[in-house]
């Protein structure tokens, strides 16, 4: 269980806090979606929860231990992160990249063992990239690359997984596929947090939403409570309507956000 308490963070030389007194918890077997407009502090919040930024106020606890007290390798075995984007000047294969997930499990002179190989194989299978294992990462499509990066995070075997806009730039097919994958990982018992701009998929797949605005929590909890016309119009400063998902299936009734034309409001 990953818990953030009253987190506040101001970037160096910034006047306003990027994140202000935000509290949240990510429980095993659940998916928390963090939503909000650009600049709302979503990525900063994720960095606070991953330990790459230290909060000026508040604390991040991992199973009742302060995240900041963990060593780098120990932390990486507990919290895996798929950041928004990455690039490399030196091409690697999918298998090599997913294998990097074992970094925190291996000493500098330790060679890769059978168990490491099995974990990597399983992660490749789980994210449906096993067939691409020998391809260069740079040659993959956006959706395949994203799945490979999630596979690398799974190879860390961390009980907590944080994802920053995992569906950015992906088409309908890959977006659906990705949220299905998150659903499966949740069923495996992982504690998941995803920062996303996709309100409609978040409403269908997430257990809880956290809506940030100007660094503060504007609303949090069940998607039906967070996604209201009044709240969203205020946060996004745009006219919109909410309609129930038409179904069929378990998503029927989930609140779907439909933005209006400016003049039709």
């Amino acid at each position: 269980m990953l818990v953030g308490r009253d987190l506040t963070f101001t970037h160096p030389r910034a006047e306003e806090a990027a994140v202000r007194e935000v509290s949240l918890s990510v429980a095993p077997g659940s998916l928390l979606a963090v939503v909000g407009p650009n600049g709302a502090g979503k990525t900063t919040l994720l960095r606070l929860l991953s330990g790459s930024l230290a909060p000026q106020e508040g604390e991040v606890l991992l199973d009742d231990r302060l995240l900041g007290d963990l060593g780098d390798r120990e932390r990486a075995r507990a919290v895996a992160v798929v950041p928004q984007s990455e690039s490399s000047p030196f091409p690697v294969t999918v298998r090599e990249m997913v294998g990097m997930g074992r970094y925190a499990h291996l000493g500098p002179w330790e060679s890769v063992g059978t168990r490491d190989r099995d974990v990597v194989d399983e992660a490749l299978e789980r994210c449906a990239v096993a067939a691409l294992a020998h391809r260069q990462v740079g040659e993959l499509s956006g959706g395949e690359r994203q799945r490979a990066r999630i596979a690398r995070a799974l190879a860390q075997e961390a009980p907590v997984l944080l994802l920053d806009e995992p569906t950015a730039g992906l088409d309908l097919h890959y977006r659906m596929e990705l949220f299905h994958l998150l659903q499966e990982l949740r069923a495996d018992g992982l504690a998941l947090l995803a920062v996303t701009h996709d309100l409609n998929l978040a409403a269908r797949f997430a257990d809880r939403l956290l809506l940030l605005d100007g660094g503060r929590e504007r609303a949090g909890g069940d998607p039906h409570d967070v996604l209201s016309r009044e709240i969203l119009e205020g946060v996004y400063e745009w006219p919109l309507r909410l309609v129930p998902h038409p179904g069929p299936g378990s998503d029927a009734g989930a609140p779907q956000t439909v933005p209006l034309r400016r003049d039709d409001a």
């Binding site: 690039s87 090599e96 970094y103 002179w109 060679s111 890769v112 860390q156």
Partner: protein, 336 residues
């Protein structure tokens, strides 16, 4: 392919390169101005050679071959390390100003006449200049990036410091007499003609620094995906960067102090290995060391032989031979 098969393949490649170093070493010992051939080498090894032959082989060619192998390896390994540290394929051992600092130290020794009076002060001056440059660049970079070590700031500091050192060198040379001027220029082109068994003390710095760098192979792999990703994967990014900078700079400082500035080895060798075998640093680092050794052994042999009894500066040979070789590799498209 299984993990075992992969490990065997990597070990096989390292073994092939180690063999290449031995062959290049044998070639280097067998060729030279005095006309001694492979047969003489064999007789010297078995103890059947005459004293003059033995002296040439064991006092002149062998220490020079050992020095070439050490320096070539250090340049290959440090070039690869700077590429990983700066995440920049254009990085090479001299990119952060260490060679410039060494050259300032060496030129000072030439200009003051110490090089003639006390020859051993030359490598000392170069080494002190190199270590001074390393400390200066690091201090600027740390100050400018507020405590951490931003590699973009580091590369800027290195380039700026290098430009400053160049200006100092030109200033000193403009005041120098013709003999010091010529000696200094020749030194800066890099050559191994001063090799004796004393130059092997280089290994005192190279061996520990190489071990330290090799221990970072896996960290370089994750670092290649970016510092943020490396952190999330469990790397202690700041510590890895600082360690890599210090170890690689020390290797470069020791090499430059011993033989001057030999270019292109540290840029071309790691790239040749990358193109052939990919970017896994667990193979790339040892392979860069060994390939650098073999390459400099051969280049130095060419430098000794082609215009015998005169010699070419080794740094000229590495550039002239290395660049076309690299272009061919690049055009073949590398690893698919």
């Amino acid at each position: 392919m299984s993990v075992q098969a992969r490990t065997w393949r990597a070990s096989g490649r390292v073994a092939v390169l180690a063999l290449a170093v031995l062959i290049a070493g044998a070639v280097s010992l067998s060729l030279g101005a005095s006309g001694l051939g492979p047969g003489d080498l064999w007789r010297a090894v078995t103890g059947a050679a005459d004293p003059a032959t033995e002296t040439i082989l064991l006092r002149l060619r062998l220490p020079r071959a050992v020095l070439a192998a050490l320096v070539g390896g250090a340049l290959g390994l440090s070039g690869c390390t700077f590429q990983a540290l700066l995440r920049n394929p254009l990085a090479e051992p001299y990119v952060l100003g260490v060679s410039g600092g060494a050259a300032v130290g060496a030129v000072c020794v030439f200009v003051t006449g110490l090089a003639v009076a006390l020859p051993w002060t030359l490598s000392l001056g170069a080494f002190l200049g190199a270590v001074g440059a390393m400390a200066l660049v690091l201090a600027i970079a740390r100050r400018a990036s507020r405590g951490g070590m931003d590699t973009r700031v580091l590369i800027l500091s290195g380039v700026i410091a290098g430009a400053f050192f160049n200006a100092i060198i030109l200033l000193l040379l403009s005041l120098a007499d013709l003999q010091s001027f010529r000696s200094a220029i020749f030194w800066m082109m890099g050559n191994l003609s001063g090799a004796d068994w004393g130059s092997a003390r280089l290994a005192v710095f190279l061996v520990p620094a190489s071990v330290v760098v090799l221990s970072l192979a896996r960290a370089f792999n994750v670092l290649s995906r970016g510092e943020e990703v490396a952190y999330y994967l469990g790397a202690s990014v700041q510590r890895v960067k600082l360690t890599a900078y210090l170890a690689a700079s020390l290797m470069v400082a020791a090499s430059v102090a011993a033989v001057g500035v030999i270019g292109f080895v540290g840029l071309i060798v790691p790239h040749a290995v990358r193109l052939a075998w990919g970017n896994d640093h667990r193979l790339l680092l040892p392979a860069s060391f060994l390939a650098g050794s073999a390459f400099l052994l051969l280049a130095d042999t060419v430098a000794r032989v082609v215009v015998a009894p005169a010699e070419l500066p080794t740094g000229v040979v590495t550039a002239v031979a290395g660049v076309p070789f690299f272009v061919v590799l690049l055009m073949r498209g590398g690893r698919r």
